[in-house]
Each structure stands twice: as structure tokens, then as C-alpha cells.
Subunit: 269 residues, 2 copies
């Protein structure tokens, strides 16, 4: 299940009820601290950062014993989160997994409870950078060869996608972001607006606006989300705006405000 | 502000509080019906589907008169939603917009309240298709030239992104999806798993699994979200799984379950 970005007010009612109904709550200790008030009287199984496999396996084991388990993920459990790991573990072991609605025998029942992903929490703090097509890329090469990541960055640049970068840097990975900026600079204006959000909706939140050229000067860590604008994204005061339409009658020079707005706006249809 | 996919239990506490505090609620009437129990005693300004500009302008007008306005968007307001339109309108009119935290003079104060986007609600119903890098593309060519959309589809295919398609079809737009499938088939295995989610977390919800080759046979409309797997995505029972890592020791043949799982799993770091 998903916690959202961290602040308790960003939890959905559904997520709260799942926590309330759980007999066991399994999670990374830093995330569990964010929801400590909701864990009173629960059995809590917590572990450190690189122990995702152990947490997933523990959750499956307890669920197979008939207990109601809440395996928590920050952001959305389905976006670089724990939902996929549990399903991968189940598949690897040939376990039958069932949705709550499906009838029939199953080794355990799995419900994926969505939450506000970091990309939405971060974008909201920046204004509206994700109003048009975007690509989401993790720069962590722990499990993905750098060549795959590199190819995706180039493809996203060629497609003029707004680009959301997860895991831009960690203590052990410090060169990837600079390479990505170099790759993007060969496709995109150096003045392209970039938003940098650290610890969105958590204590210590920081929101910054910069440009592609200056991005390497920003303080970036593994709790940072970076949003690189497309060719149409512009900065307006403290906000980033990616216009919804490419057919708009006004032209927005990079970094400046539009001069007039006359086009019809189609919305999400 | 964001409503999430539709079901009241998917609203965050923050969104509920914003609605409760609002003097005026502005929105598309179909979305307002989803939250009718929360609108008791409120002034409600509702309008039809193509009136986004009018709704945005009405919200700005009322906010400038000093009223607390909740302008609602389904899903996340920052993803093809109303947040960007309001900011575009403000920029075009040279209005000063301020965040609630910022001091100083402003024509109105804007807070973007995030919500669960359709892509997360849909993915959760499908299992875990968005566990690795993905691209989000709207197929609506009302405001975006088809050539831009086409180029993005090709770029996303070349980058082996999982692909999320918004607005795949409407009554007036019926040929785009077939063209996209043709484009993707020249890059991706015809047996690539595809998830089709209609009206996620709303009355009439439908969830289907198919393949890229068979996608054109599906019933698809403007309330449908489509998720096309990448080269690693596989189907396991009723679930779609995109493995988190490309370095995993097991190889997953398209459409089959993995044989063993021995690799370390890096998670979101």
C-alpha cells in the first residue's frame, strides 16, 4: 500500500483504513516514522534501506499465514515501489496471488492501494510542469545498465518529453546526473526551466527553480526529484508551466511569459 | 485541487479539507457528481466538458474577489488537469500569483493540491506495470499536432519505456489508437502485455489484459487508460508485472513467469 509523499494529510482514506485494518505493518523504518501516529498498537516489522527483498518476503510469509499485512511504500507503491517486488517474488516462487474480488484458491490475496506519487507531489509544489506528455526515468544503475538509462534519456529528449528524474544521485552514485545534463544539453535549450524538489511534503522540504545549464550546481540527493521542462515549458514567477497545447495561438519564448491567450483549450477532453 | 480517480476513499485528507474550507466549488459536472456528499451547502459552479477555459477564468475571478475557491480536477490537477490552465490564464493576463507561503502582494493565491493520478489508479488495478521507467502520452490531437504525438510514441518505443496512453479515443477521434498500435508493433513484440482500464475507481470500472496485437479489438473510450508493457513486462495470473531490474539473474520470456529470482533488488534506493 501507498503512503503518498509523507505528510499525513496526503494519505487517502483508503490507505488509512488499510493501515487500521492491518495486524502487521511492514516497511522501511524512515517511512514508518512518517506515519507513526497511525501505528499505535500494531506489530511493526521494519528494516533498512537495501532490505526490500527481505521486507517483501516477510510480508508474503505473514499474509500466507492468514494475517492482514500492510506492506508500505512511500509515494505510490506501483511506481518504483513495493507492489512490483511482491509480485515478482510471488511469480518467482509460483505462488498463486489473487485480487480481493476474484474467487478461487490463492496462496495470498493482494490489493495494491495507490497513493500520490512523488512526481505528482513534486509537480504540485512547482506549479504545473506535467501538463503535457512526460517521461519518468530513474538514474539508479544498481539494477539497470547505464546504457539502458542513457538510451532512455536520449529518447525522452528526442521526443520533447518533460522529463522526471527519480534517484538522481546518492552517496555512491555521483556522476550520472552530470552525464544526463550533458546529454540533454545537446537536445534542449540551456535555459530550459528545471524544477528541483527535495523531501516533498516531508520535514525539510526544499523547492528550487533553475535551468538545465545550472542544474549541476544544485544540491541533489536521493530524496530529490528533478523535473526538466520540454521546449514549451516556461517560468512564471515562482511557478513552472508546461502549456497544455502546442496549437495555442501564442508563442512562449523560453523563460518568458506568454503575451496573450486566445486559443481554445481542450483539457483532458 | 485534485479529486483522485473518483472514489471518495481515494481523496486525501488535504483535498477533503480544501473542499470543506471552500466557499465556491468550480468543476466539470460529472466530476462534481462523484463528490456530491462533500458539496452540501456550498455554492457550486459547474459546466460541461469543453468549458475548461470558462471554469478556470471563473475560478480566478472569484479568487480575486477574495473568496476561497476550490477548482476541482479529476485525477491529479497537475497532469493534463486544471492547475496548468489556471497558471496559463494568469500568465496571459499578467496576474501576480502567489503560493500560500510567499509574502508580498498578489492578485490571488494558488495552492496546487495533488491527488492520485489516473496512471497510478489504473496501474494499481493491473498489478505493477509501472515499476520501471515509463512515458505518458495523450493521444488527443485537439491542441497538439499529430506529428508531435507520433514522434513521441516512436521515441517512447525506441527507449523501451512502458507507455501510458491517456485519451486514447473519443467519439470524434477514432483512428489515432490504431496508428499508435501500428507504430509500436514495428518496435515491440506483438505479444507485449497491455492493460486496459476503463473508469478506474468509478462506477462501471472495467479492467482488462490483452496484448499489443489484440489491443485494437478492445472497447476503448475517453475514460480509458492504456498501459503498454516494455520488453520485460510479463503477465502473471491476473497481474501485469514490469520487473524493477534489468540486471536480474532470471530471464523472463514474454508472457511467461520467471523461473527463479536470485538477484538483489535495489528498490527506490
Amino acid at each position: 500500500m501507498s503512503l503518498g509523499p509523507g505528510a499525513l494529510e496526503c494519505l487517502t482514506l483508503e490507505a488509512r483504513e488499510a493501515l487500521a485494518a492491518a495486524q502487521v505493518v511492514v516497511g522501511y523504518h524512515t517511512y514508518l516514522e512518517l506515519i507513526a501516529p497511525l501505528l499505535q498498537g500494531k506489530e511493526v516489522v521494519s528494516s533498512g534501506m537495501k532490505a526490500e527483498m527481505a521486507r517483501g518476503q516477510a510480508a508474503i510469509l505473514r499474509a500466507r499465514q492468514g494475517e492482514r499485512v500492510a506492506l508500505v511504500s512511500s509515494g505510490d507503491a506501483g511506481i518504483y515501489g513495493m507492489a512490483g517486488l511482491v509480485l515478482e517474488l510471488a511469480a518467482a516462487q509460483g505462488l498463486r496471488v489473487s485480487t480481493p474480488e476474484a474467487a478461487g484458491e490463492a496462496d495470498f490475496i493482494l490489493e495494491v492501494i495507490p497513493g500520490i506519487p512523488a512526481l505528482a507531489a513534486g509537480a504540485a509544489l512547482l506549479g504545473a510542469p506535467l501538463m503535457h506528455d512526460f517521461a519518468v526515468i530513474s538514474l539508479s544503475d544498481l539494477l539497470t545498465p547505464w546504457e539502458v538509462i542513457r538510451k532512455r534519456v536520449v529518447a525522452a529528449a528526442e521526443g520533447d518529453f518533460v522529463i522526471v528524474l527519480y534517484n538522481p544521485k546518492s552517496r555512491k552514485r555521483d556522476w550520472q546526473l552530470a552525464q544526463v545534463v550533458d546529454l540533454l544539453l545537446s537536445h534542449r535549450n540551456p535555459d530550459t526551466p528545471v524544477g528541483v524538489v527535495r523531501r516533498a511534503r516531508r520535514p525539510g522540504e526544499e523547492v528550487g527553480l533553475t535551468t538545465l545549464r545550472k542544474l549541476p550546481e544544485e544540491t541533489v540527493d536521493m530524496q530529490t526529484l528533478i523535473i526538466v521542462g520540454n521546449s514549451q515549458t516556461f517560468r512564471y514567477g515562482d511557478y513552472l508551466i508546461t502549456p497544455r497545447g502546442y496549437l495555442a495561438k501564442y508563442q512562449v519564448p523560453s523563460g518568458e511569459r506568454p503575451r496573450g491567450l486566445t486559443a481554445e483549450w481542450g483539457g483532458g477532453e
